[in-house]
Amino acid sequence: MPSASDPTVTPATTGPDPAPTSPEATTTAPKPPTAAAEPAAARPGPATAAGPHPAATGRPESGAAPDGGTTTPATTRVLARGRVGWIVRAVALVALAAAVLSFPSLAPNPYILSAGVVVLNYAVLSTSWNFVGGFTGYISLGHGALAGLGGYGTALLVTKAGLPSFVALAVAALLVAVLAVPIGYAALRVRGASFVIVSIALVLILLLVFQSWASLTGGSRGLVVPRPFPGLLRPEHHRVFYFLFAGLLGLALLAWWLIDRSRFGLGLKAIREDEDKAEALGTPTFAYKLVVFVVSAGFTALAGGLYALWFGDLDPVFQFSILTGSYLVLMALLGGVRHLFGPLVGALVVGIALEYFKVEFGNTPLHLVATGVLLALVVLFMPDGVLPAIGALANRLFGTTQSSIREVTAAQLREERTAGARVDAVAVPGGAQPTKERP
């Protein structure tokens, strides 16, 4: 449709956040294509008028392809990304997996290996967090508590109910997921602030309960979790759990990726962008949020339970800690919540930065200051995380390579098209602002 004119006055897209939703933004409009010029087949609408809601059946109206036959990914990324992009991604993925899996044999001593387990644990936790944080934009500071519940659940099922370790782990994760339903019900019924408050309150109340209910949880005396493989020497123990955590990470990433490309995921992202609007378009936002919260809680509990089996000692103050939750947030935000590998990258970046602070400032609580300042900087200046920032940088350096995860922007598209496109400026009328006073 060459006749469809290009918007002429370039909107202010130079800044990182052009926010053209503001009514003051330059008002340009495409020239309306004449109805006659459109091929009738492409016109939606008339066909749907036959029944009351034909589209609601989800059946293709033209085209005979049955569901699943000729499906295309929903997002436009695919449209912009070429075969090369796929290959690059596949190679990167294989390299990453190889690096992760070969680490145990490269680790020079058990300490390094155990540190690797901790890293993986954090990667799983922040990826699990990202099910809620990344998709819906609801920020939970209480995921540490869900991990703690998973840990205690697993431990108690092993010690009190006598279940085998990994059965206990699965049951505990399931129980936490079930428990997440009423928690989510209270937290997600109203918007925004209440969710954060509940997530913090969850940590605080669970800390109180697990500390006080000493007859069950051992209270401040702690709870010892029996080793699942009692015969293993400590280095072997680390190795086994390293692979278990790696497997769990893979599972969490896979689940995230599957949701990311599903209709469910699109609905969740719509919630993140504009919840009212999503609701008005027919998305059952509350149910969506609740489901994804439960999924997130389940994965978090799995990570927490696996950690308990690995670590062996549980103490309420360490299991139910707000800082744990906040570090997950920091990792995910820094890495980029919109990206599959964002939390993973964030865990590494945050880790190194804070180790630096710890080394630099020694035995003072200044690492807290560093954490606070880093979090504030990310929130103020890099709310999208480093991955997009790097992506943008790479784009700037290497031109508009579309292997980037990012969708192509209108500005880029426009540039590509400028050569041929006829510019016909539509003057912006004085009353471009939607003033409500106008009668």
Binding site: I197, I200, L204, Q211, G372, A376
Partner: protein
Amino acid sequence: MPSGALLFQSVILGLLLGGLYALLAAGLTLYFGIMRVVMIAHSAFLILAAYLAWWSHTRLGVDPLLSMVVTVPLFFGAGVLLQRLLLARLRAATLTMMSVLLTFAIAVTIEGLLGYAFTGTQRRIQLGYGSASFGLFGARIAVVKLIAFGLAAVALLTLYLLMKKTTFGWALRATIQHRDAARLVGIETEKVAGYGFGIGLATAAVGGTALALDTTIYPSLHWHWIGPLMAIIVVGGLGSVPGAAMAAMVLGMAQSLLQIPLGTTWAQTIFYLALFATLAFRPQGFFGGRLAQRF
């Protein structure tokens, strides 16, 4: 069965505690009303003020109450700057979530700096009248607790008069109720929001001084306060100052009385149970407040 004397004593203690909760929750409510911000750092500033009171007493030999001459204006200024320089920068679309993180970051930073300056050791002001008390119908009221309550009451009353009787209070209430409408009638809402934040933080300065009089302080103590305070503002109805004050008194009293049969730890859970119950059954809160529904 607890004796009548113990019950009465607990009621008195609950009242004194509730007063402090009320003052602190009022500040927290103010922020939420003005900007829809859950100010996690409120209690960190509270502890900061307590430390300043302790420091001026221990190092300078000044009565802790006098430290307010400095801390109240200081905190007011800090509040204005905090709102104008940091919170106002956040995008409106993600304000609620990001402001939580930002204020969380501030809280952690304050905690770290306090730990750096004063170490993690628990501190307590040693006053000559620290263990003095007087009797009231068989109950005993500690002088320091009464002073703390008095401070909270005076500060709350001042806040009330400020909100109800002054032009600024009118502008502030208008901003809280409908920002756009307030702007339309010529209120400089940005400026008002900044001052509102300043007032909120000033209440933390008063509260911190009151707190320092009778309890131990340490850098991470703020986590101990923020939970109950958040519960209070939700139960009271987000954004409603009188609602928060009511909820604070009720929950403070409940905590004090529940300690008799349940002990300290379990009694604290009343705040969170009230929070969950409120959100599940009456999200708009129990004491007025109509902002919660939409945010």
